[in-house]
Structure formats: structure tokens, C-alpha cells
Homo-oligomer: 190 residues x 2
């Protein structure tokens, strides 16, 4: 170190702060959607609200970057599933593990309802990649790949409505949860 100027030193480098705020934003946006405030994010990150806006230019850009990272993580995770025996099961498991994180699930779902063209583009591309990777790795044909993606969407919807924890007393829902969600995934997620 060159000198220890006790009070002039910033607490973090810009990059560190960016990463920290993106991590916090992922959680806050996941729970509150785009309607979540930059102030909530700032408080959770321990910085001032104007600083959050300054670092990313605007709330919209922060949200887009947050979403992009989540979408990339999904595609990368599916891409990194090794070929070989049981690929089909391992592909399903990989998705279940991603979605076991409620923030990931909620953020993903938001893409399918966004009115922002950039978010929509990322969301639909992720769907297409999931389909393509299933066809490529599993090779059981387009219908099977489509069912893979569709089943993923159904699980998102069921978890989003807290169905596994609250199906009791609703016969249709009980039966649906039982045949759509593996027992290991059936505890509350919200």
C-alpha cells in the first residue's frame, strides 16, 4: 500500500460495490418485481439511494442487468450438463436446482410478463435455449423437449402460488402437485 489516508479511502472499489448491489438487487427485485424501489435496494446494500442510481445510470438499467445475470445463469447451467447416460434426468434436476432458489424463480417469471422489450428478448431467448439444449443433449425429439420446457413453466406457476404447501383440501390441486412436483421439491418455497 502507498499510504494510509485514514478517512479518504473508499469502502469498496466500484466493481465490488456493483457486484454487491447486483446481488442485493436480485433479491429485492425478485420479491417486489420492477415495482421494488431503488431505496429498498440501497438500504439493503448499506448505501444511499442516489448512489445506486448513479452506479447503474437508472433503475431500468439496474433491473435489466440483474435479469440478464439470472437468465445467463439458467442457460449456462443447462449448457454445462454433461452428456451421457441419464442426461434427461440430470437436465431436469439441473433446472429444479436452479428454481429451488425462490429469487431465481421469481425473477425468471417476471421476464414472461415484462413490458420492456429488452427483458422480453432475454426471456424468450432463454426459453429457446432450454429447448435447443434438451434436443441437443437428450435427443428424444422436439415433443419431449417442449414438454421439458412446459413442465418447467408449470412448476414455476405452482411454486409461485405456494401450491405444494397449500394444496390440502383442494382435490384437483393436490393431484396436480403430486404428479407435477417431485416429492423432494414439495416443501414451501415462499
Amino acid at each position: 500500500m502507498t499510504a494510509n489516508e485514514t478517512s479518504t479511502a473508499p469502502r469498496m472499489t466500484g466493481d465490488q460495490r456493483r457486484e454487491q448491489i447486483l446481488a442485493v438487487a436480485r433479491h429485492v427485485f425478485a420479491e417486489g418485481g420492477y415495482a421494488a424501489s431503488t431505496d429498498d435496494i440501497a438500504r439493503a446494500a448499506g448505501v444511499s439511494q442516489p448512489y445506486v442510481v448513479r452506479l447503474f445510470g437508472s433503475k431500468r438499467e439496474l433491473y435489466a442487468e440483474t435479469y440478464r445475470r439470472a437468465a445467463d445463469e439458467i442457460v449456462e447451467t443447462l449448457r454445462s450438463v454433461a452428456p451421457g447416460p441419464d442426461v434427461k434426468d440430470r437436465m431436469g434436476d439441473a433446472y429444479l436446482r436452479l428454481i429451488a432458489d425462490p429469487d431465481m424463480r421469481l425473477l425468471t417469471m417476471q421476464g414472461f410478463m415484462s413490458s420492456d422489450a429488452d427483458i422480453q428478448a432475454m426471456a424468450r431467448h432463454t426459453l429457446g435455449e432450454a429447448f435447443r439444449l434438451h434436443e441437443q443433449k437428450v435427443g428424444s425429439g422436439p415433443e419431449d423437449a417442449r414438454n421439458f420446457v412446459a413442465h418447467g413453466m408449470l412448476i414455476n406457476a405452482l411454486l409461485g402460488t405456494d401450491a405444494p404447501a397449500r394444496a390440502a383440501g383442494d382435490p384437483g390441486l393436490e393431484a396436480l402437485v403430486e404428479c407435477a412436483i417431485p416429492a423432494s421439491q414439495r416443501q414451501d418455497a415462499r
Copy 2:
């Protein structure tokens, strides 16, 4: 009529106004989500913002009532599919016809991401009913019924991201759209 008191007469009865505002709210909430303002709804209905709030008690109650009607319409439509030959196809068609209305599709999707317990409850019950009605009417077993609901969710997601109109150039997405969405439904919806 008893008398024509030219300026004292209200423009509509309370019930008529309620229905009109609910119709308008369906569209405004569909496009803007819960974040849409009561003022937007009021303007679109040609009344004042405070009056909208007064008629329904609060924005939240207006939203809940709007959602309830959409959810009821889905269940009623599926329930009214006549048994007989080709029930399976007619059940799928009934859902496609519902979802061909972008407002219906958007509103439905919002239920799967709501943080409001009442909305969540309606949304998951709708999923369960769709499953149950498929089993009851089509009778091709739980896996087939699950695939029916799952496929519905996939179509919601694809339409939500404008995939049919924008898949060009994205090979995975093109293939997915082709095998998930009937040609008749493939034009832009947003």
C-alpha cells in the same frame, strides 16, 4: 319514467358503473399489472379517481375482484366443454380461445407472481381445476392432464415474450414456437 329532473339524474346506476369500471380495470391491470394506477382506470372509464376507490373500497379490492372474474371465466369455460368425441382437442381449443385475449392471458399470469395471498389462492385453484376437469372429461390419465396444464403455461410464456412474432433468427426459439403453438395462433399478440 316518473319525472325528468334534468340535472339530478345520475349517469348510471351503481351496478352499471361497477361493471363498466371492472371491464376497464381488466384491461388496464392486464397491461400495467397491479402497478397500474387507479387514476388510469378512472380516466379510461370517464370518472374521477376518488370515485373508483370509493366504489370498491381500495385499489387492492378492485384488483382482486378483477382477477376473480378472469379466473372464474377460465374455470367456467373449461367446465362447459361438452363431453364426447374429441373432448381433448376441444378442451385445448377452449383454452386457446380464452388466451387469445391478451388481457386474459396477462391477468392470468399475474396470479402466478402475486404476493397477495388471496390472488395466489385463486391462481392455484384455477390450475387445480384445469387439471381436474381434464382428467374428468378427457380421462386420459394424470400425466396427460398435467401436460395439458403445463402446455398452457408454456404458451402463456411464449406469447408473453412475443415469441411467435420475434423468433426469427433464434433457432432454438423458432423450433420451440413451431412445436408448441398451433399455426393458427402464431400471429403477434402484444
